[in-house]
């Protein structure tokens, strides 16, 4: 049985707004020249300090959603609220300071060393001098890169690049960290380290939005999941709660297939 539609989306009540780190209401977006809308009334919310998995098949609207959350793309209709700020032109700069985004690509300069990259992006965030250097050293150590700080990124392994990519996004201490497939193409050791870091980081009070096609990974790390398909949220809830909701579902992948079906999305 497929349980699709808005009925599974929890009703957003006023009292929740204060406690949520993210509230997305009825987002619509159609790109110029596109035949189909990318978002068709997407709504979801989640509380502060949670790790939320934003899951969906290819073309479901995840990237568009993240772009709107970050303020890079303007929604045709709907509203986004991050903490106590509504995403609009007036709040865009303040929201940028609140969020950190780890893109799926390695958004670093390959001919610069890890330290040079981190200093460059730190400087753009207004961080300078010894405090920035200390912060970089601390994160390099935390991510097991203390000996590689002076190596150029192009000489890094895939896992090292991914870890540096994350550090570049958290130098400014964001309250909300958005990660787009942060463990794509890395070995088990790097993946374990990244996931452990995210858990620790979340315990420091940072909300995390995480997209991935690796649903076993999402199941281990996410306290909540939002499954998106065809521009709408088809279900939102606690990870364990959703698994238990359906007797035939043994894990998050079953839940995912339950709500999105087996049809290929090319």
């Amino acid at each position: 049985m497929r349980c699709r539609g808005r009925s599974t989306i929890p009703e957003i009540v006023e009292s929740e707004i204060i406690m949520t780190s993210m509230l997305v209401q009825d987002l619509h977006k159609t790109y110029k020249g596109a035949l189909e809308p990318s978002l068709k009334g997407l709504s979801f919310s989640f509380p502060e300090r949670s790790i939320v998995g934003l899951l969906g098949p290819n073309g479901a609207g995840k990237t568009t959603t993240i772009s709107i959350l970050c303020g890079l793309v303007k929604a045709d209709a709907g509203q986004v609220q991050l903490f106590d700020l509504t995403q609009n032109a007036a709040n865009r700069e303040a929201i940028k300071q609140l969020i950190g985004v780890v893109p799926q690509q390695i958004a670093l300069f390959p001919h610069l060393t890890a330290i040079e990259n981190l200093e460059y992006f730190g400087n753009l965030y207004g961080l300078k001098g010894k405090p920035l250097r200390n912060l970089i050293d601390q994160y390099l150590q935390e991510f097991g890169l203390e000996k590689a700080g002076n190596k150029q990124i192009r000489h890094f392994s895939g896992g090292m690049k991914r870890r540096t990519n994350i550090i570049a996004s958290i130098l400014h201490h964001p309250k909300l960290l958005i990660l787009d497939e942060p463990t794509a193409g890395v070995d088990v050791q790097s993946r374990t380290m990244i996931l452990q870091f995210l858990r620790n980081y979340n315990q420091q009070g940072v909300s995390i939005v995480y997209t991935s096609h690796l649903l076993d990974e999402a199941q281990t790390i996410c306290s909540e999941v939002v499954i998106i398909d065809e521009g709408r949220a088809v279900v939102q809830g606690g990870t364990e709660e959703l698994i238990q909701r359906h007797a035939e579902c043994r894990n998050l992948e079953d839940v995912f297939l339950h709500y999105t079906g087996h049809a290929l999305r090319d």
Binding site: K96, V101, P103, I106, L112, E116, F121, G126
Partner: protein, 416 residues
């Protein structure tokens, strides 16, 4: 830092232009030289052995353009041999002076003087030949000779003939007049040239005598070409930043992305200006070591700096547009390189616009490279200052502004 570590980029921006300018200045040196600077061997077959042959040989020798050759391997050349050697391309030109040419000229001068004398009531005593056929100095050209070269030779020979004819005529007139009560001490000096020619510079300075030679054209021209090649690293960089997410990261950082973009633009403009001055150093110091003329920089260094900045701005903006329009570095590289080659070809970089057909000159003046080159030529060749560069500068700045607006519109459309 990034540029310093990018050896390929550094080579493309600084080393290749130096090589390009040096090679182009060397290979275009000969075509750019005036005929005065070049020496051609001219075969002469003097069947006359009179004054005309002497005048032509001496006159050609005095121009400095020609070396008169009348013997090959120690033997006097015959007309037939000379024709064959020209036809085979050993010589570009051969002049055959016919037997009796001087006599014909003297006879003609005598005839004129006798005629005048008769009308003045004096006896017509100078001898006149009864020869009816007309004589010609024959010129054979290498079939591959250029039209301009042939024309120059024709003009020179015509001048010598006229000169000989005039000299002989004057000589005969003086001779005849001396018979009529003229004191012995009267030299009867006749000055034929009442009005002469004087060459003068048109620019504000009369001190510099700069001519458009290979170095003077090629160094600024190919420097501008090389500056525009910054399109490739800029466009490639922009596309890579878009692909690898660095652009996204920078857009997510608080503060205006425009400020970051402006900073990058200023950096690339500065690279262009450094490139320009490096190329000028090549023209001043390196090329003279290779036997080429030294580059003359005119008198307004400020004007040259402003123009170099304007060219850098136009080139950088073009790079930003190419980087915005195209989706892959390969597309941008191919389009960028080919478009610059086309813009440079029509813009007078390869050959000066002045020698192109008029409709091509019109199209050429639409190329931003031609605006930059015009401005630099005005400064270097015509010695103008800051006040004379604003038209070309205005075009370069407008070009940059329009391209940036188009790039911004495309980027905005892409995000929507």
């Amino acid at each position: 830092m990034l540029l310093l570590r990018d050896r390929t980029g550094l080579t493309l921006l600084f080393v290749m232009p130096v090589v390009l300018i040096t090679v182009m200045a060397l290979i275009e040196d000969a075509p750019f030289r005036d005929y005065q600077e070049l020496k051609f061997d001219i075969l002469t077959v003097d069947n006359d052995q009179g004054r005309l042959g002497k005048y032509i040989r001496e006159g050609l020798g005095q121009t400095g353009q020609f070396r008169v050759v009348d013997t090959v391997n120690g033997n006097t050349v015959t007309e037939q041999q000379a024709r064959a050697m020209v036809n085979e391309g050993h010589y570009q030109i051969c002049i055959i002076i016919p037997k009796g040419a001087t006599g014909a000229i003297v006879s003609n001068a005598n005839k004129i003087v006798n005629d005048i004398s008769r009308r003045m009531g004096m006896p017509d005593v100078l001898p006149v030949s009864n020869r009816k056929d007309s004589l010609h100095v024959t010129v054979y050209f290498d079939p591959a000779s250029k039209k301009a070269f042939k024309s120059a030779i024709h003009q020179a020979l015509d001048n010598f003939l006229t000169q000989v004819e005039t000299d002989l005529l004057l000589e005969r007139i003086k001779k005849q007049l001396k018979k009529k009560d003229v004191p012995e001490n009267d030299s009867m000096h006749i000055e034929l040239k009442a009005v002469g020619l004087k060459e003068q510079l048109t620019g504000p300075s009369q001190e510099l005598d700069v001519i458009s030679n290979s170095v003077q054209h090629n160094v600024p021209a190919w420097s501008i070409f090389a500056m525009f090649f910054i399109v490739i690293p800029i466009a490639g960089n922009m596309i890579r930043e878009r692909e690898d997410g660095s652009l996204l990261r920078m857009k997510l950082i608080p503060g205006s992305y425009l400020a970051i973009l402006t900073g990058k633009m200023l950096f690339f403009v500065a690279v262009c200006v450094v490139q320009f001055y490096l190329m000028m150093q090549v023209g001043i110091y390196l090329l003279p070591l290779l036997g080429l003329p030294r580059l003359m920089l005119g008198q307004s260094f400020l004007a040259a700096f402003i123009v170099a900045t304007g060219i850098g701005l136009a080139a950088t903006s073009y790079g930003i547009l190419v980087g915005t329009v195209f989706k892959t570095p390969n597309q941008a590289l191919n389009f960028g390189a080919i478009s610059i080659v086309i813009l440079s070809a029509i813009g007078g970089i390869w050959i000066p616009l002045e020698i192109m057909p008029s409709h091509m000159q019109f199209i050429g003046h639409l190329s931003p490279l031609s605006w930059g080159l015009d401005a630099i030529n005005n400064i270097y060749l015509r010695n103008v200052g800051v006040s004379h560069i604003w038209v070309d500068m205005g075009k370069l700045v407008m070009f940059a502004a329009v391209l940036l607006c188009i790039a911004a519109a495309i980027e905005k459309r892409r995000l929507s």
